[in-house]
Symmetry: C2
Subunit: 141 residues, 2 copies
């Protein structure tokens, strides 16, 4: 019984601090947060279909299509049909997208990286590193 009570409290505190972190990240802005998310995934994993991107972000394909539409209009991604199955659209970073991502990373992700470096001790950073895959497991549950 006290276990459950503690867990509920942890859940509440986690939810609250998540919201605050997202707002903080947005404030350290320049680019919309979901744009950076998609661009950086394309950089790490390479060209992807709309569906694959949506699944990776746990987002509806329609939402991802909308985001990709915005990125395409800005010339940051390039979309072309898969030559084999022309229903599928392969999304890839353009040079402009790659450049922007690099510049942007030095700002926004810069803030979070810097905060982790400056505000936490080495031991505390280890706690954070171990916590991230646990959060991922919660998302996937």
């Amino acid at each position: 019984m006290p276990l459950t009570a503690d867990l509920t409290r942890t859940a509440t505190e986690l939810r609250i601090v998540l919201g605050q972190l997202v707002r903080r990240l947005r404030a350290e802005n320049a680019l919309p947060l979901h744009h950076v998310t998609v661009l950086s995934r394309l950089e790490r994993v390479g060209p992807q279909t709309t569906s694959a991107l949506a699944a990776a972000e746990r987002m509806r394909p329609q939402s991802m299509a909308h985001t990709l539409g915005e990125l395409g209009k800005e010339g940051l991604v390039d979309r072309r049909p898969d030559p084999i199955d022309r229903r599928q659209i392969i999304v890839a970073l353009t040079d402009a997208g790659r450049e922007l991502l690099t510049r942007e990373r030095n700002r926004r992700e810069g803030w979070l990286t810097q905060a982790i470096a400056e505000q936490l001790t080495a031991d505390e950073r280890q706690v954070l590193v171990r916590a991230v895959p646990l959060l991922r497991r919660l998302v996937d549950s």
Copy 2:
């Protein structure tokens, strides 16, 4: 040098999983997430001014006023001027708000609490418990 690279990677992974968690929380919905946030703070801390609520959530007072307007229209919070300084508005939970919060907690926060209970070992839960105040420190930095 490898330290900074690792930190950047941790920051990126953290940002990504944050977004996913927020979407998941929203999906386990019923109530808008920011409504729950404000209601549960009022329950924990008691009646508050608009400014105090905004500061606590690291949000603009205007945004908080907007949220409070919605909550007020739904009869979940009660707003009345401070008798001493009538510029200040004291916001308090109504009975309806308190009831709704209890019902809601059994759903949404229910999901997160349950996921923490079922998906994590006792040791892993401890990592999470220790990580939350670290995240808070990052927000405040």
